[in-house]
């Protein structure tokens, strides 16, 4: 456990909001000077969409992760305190965890460091999930897609989002560095404070602010470090760049960010309740928080995240300036869809079912950004941009149909003109661009478990 036992307060250094997004070395040094009990950083998110989870590739480059991780590791090792990295490699699945572990080993070799570490695996076994489903132990959150055994089978990868317990277990067993697969962002910060008897409400609330790095400051210039000092009646949040400020309003407002509910935040073991939280300025750049509480859940749950392959994609980008075409664009797109479908039938016959191909068109200038949510229905733009997205069972077919779409769109007749027209402007040659495999999130469910550790294998290793 912690060599330096917290006495009266526990100080937590959050190095940055996402491993690989960067932080100022000067801020990190300021953090180390405040004698933290441990350092942690989140490394993942669903923010980049389903591709990292589906493809196994992280959304930050190895060079950026290595730069951040080196500073964190050196700081933690010199101070003799644990370093916890949550949601390794963006999605926290097995390839993502191994990606960060490889970087950790490279840094250790380059710096001549040797230490006990733990990898906590979060990618889930399909047979285990099917058994849980059959036992009625998987339930939907809202809103959720259909989830059955076929969904599990179709998934490229499903991860469980660990709570604080597996991370604590790894540290209790002696790990100085914990690389965790998919984890609750807050759990990587809240485990040790609660383990040392600091109030759960304060610990979890502080964790919620810490997990985004300096995002809770009034004007964050760039991703950076932040520090929380948690005591028995309150916690104090302080940004570590002397030019950054936290105010009672900026800290209160941070609980809004990326949460549907600003007061209640659900975790594996319970719910953070901020309805009683009070915020007061300590000085002009740090804030004291009191009154946050934590309600334990009756049943411990682990949230699932899954991604499945949708198909392969090819796109065509084109624009229209002719007001005749713009004013009939909806009908023009329906006619284009018919033409393209007709060509698909001619080329592939019955070997491709009608719903095997999807043609999505985003109409920029009309409702390209908001789609069905767009309240402006009668825009009369002087030009529009069309993004044609063809999704097919193979890249070869997607590319072929994208080429056909270009040609059909280019010369689609309109009643206002007689004779052959060229109705879209294409900026590229070839006009299509292959996107490769595309994925979708296919789970928004939780698993009820008896033991917080049962879905997460902890592997202890000596890095040297």
């Amino acid at each position: 456990m912690l060599k330096k036992v917290p006495n009266g307060e526990i100080r937590v250094l959050s190095a940055t909001g996402v491993l690989g997004s960067g932080f100022l070395e000067s801020s990190f040094r300021n953090g180390l000077e405040r004698d933290p009990h441990f350092i942690a950083s989140d490394a993942g998110s669903t923010d980049p969409g389903p591709a990292p989870l589906g493809s196994g590739k992280p959304s930050f480059p190895a060079s950026a992760i290595k730069r951040d991780l080196r500073l964190m590791l050196l700081g933690a090792q010199r101070a003799g305190i644990p370093l916890i990295i949550g949601s390794c490699g963006t999605a926290g699945g097995e390839p993502h965890l191994q990606f960060v572990y490889k970087i950790l080993r490279e840094i250790a070799a380059e710096e001549g460091l040797s230490f006990p570490a733990a990898l906590i695996h979060a990618e889930q076994d399909k047979a285990y999930l099917k058994a849980k489903l059959r036992d009625g132990k998987i339930r939907a959150l809202h809103p959720a897609p259909e989830f059955d055994e076929n969904t599990i089978e179709r998934s490229e990868r499903i991860v469980g989002m660990m709570g604080a317990e597996p991370i604590l277990a790894a540290i209790e067993a002696g790990a100085q560095v914990v690389l965790a697969g998919r984890s609750s962002d807050t759990a990587i910060f809240a485990g040790l404070p609660t383990r040392y008897g600091f109030p759960e409400g304060l610990s979890w609330h502080a964790a919620k602010i810490l997990e985004c790095g300096a995002a809770a400051a009034t004007f964050r210039k760039n991703p950076d470090c932040i520090m929380a000092s948690i005591s028995h009646d309150s916690f104090v949040i302080e940004p570590l760049d002397p030019e950054l400020r936290c105010t009672p309003q900026s800290i209160a407002a941070h609980s809004l960010y990326e949460n549907t509910d600003p007061y209640l935040i659900v975790e594996s073991s319970g719910t953070i309740d901020l309805r009683g939280a009070q915020y007061e300025a300590v000085d002009d750049r740090s804030v004291r928080v009191r009154g946050s509480s934590f309600r334990h859940a009756d049943t411990y749950t682990v949230k699932l995240e899954g991604a499945e392959l949708v198909g392969y994609q090819s796109l065509v980008l084109g624009s229209v300036r002719d007001p005749f075409i713009i004013r009939q664009i909806d009908d023009w797109l329906r006619r284009l869809d018919d033409k393209v479908r007709g060509r698909i039938k001619e080329l592939y016959g019955h070997s491709l079912s009608d719903n095997a191909i999807t043609l999505n068109v985003h109409v920029y200038g009309k409702n390209g950004t908001m789609g069905d949510l767009e309240p402006v229905k009668d825009a009369t733009p002087h030009e529009i941009c069309l993004l044609f997205l063809v999704t097919a069972p193979t890249q070869e077919i997607a590319t072929a149909i994208a080429s056909i779409t270009r040609h059909q769109a280019l010369h689609l007749p309109i009643p206002e003109w007689s004779g052959l027209i060229t109705g879209i402007a294409c900026p590229f040659s070839p006009a299509y661009l292959d996107r490769g495999p595309v994925y979708r999130f296919n789970v928004n469910h939780v698993v009820e478990v008896d033991d917080p550790l049962e879905m997460f294998d902890i592997e202890h290793v000596q890095v040297n």
């Binding site: 923010d47 809004l256 960010y257 549907t260 600003p262 949510l373 767009e374 979708r440 999130f441």
Partner: protein, 101 residues
């Protein structure tokens, strides 16, 4: 009449996970916040009307200690799925800027 965009210090939208979208409307002084809150012009109903949703699909909050108004709605298309044009949900707030207070 004043537009909400002229009164708020920040209006933003973002995913709250891949299946939900959340909107924050923030103010930098308590008087402006109170004026907007008491105007009755921003409500679950108003948000539902703007986005063409039914009111029971809108979670709506006044967050007094943050001087903020918050609304959350289900995403019409799951983040990153076919047809989704705003993977981060970051550009879905713009119509709210026009609300007359």
């Amino acid at each position: 009449m004043t537009k909400l965009a002229d009164l708020a210090s920040l209006i933003r939208s973002k995913n709250a996970g891949p299946f939900s979208l959340t909107i924050d409307i923030m103010f930098d002084n308590p008087d402006t916040y109170r004026k907007v809150k008491e105007s009755g012009k921003i409500s679950a109903r108003a948000v539902a009307d703007i986005y063409g949703l039914s009111e029971n699909n809108v979670q709506f909050f006044f967050v007094d200690n943050a001087l903020a108004v918050k609304a959350s709605i289900p995403r019409p298309v799951t983040q990153g799925d076919l047809g989704d044009a705003d993977s981060h949900g970051g550009q879905q707030y713009a119509p709210l800027m026009e609300i007359d207070i």
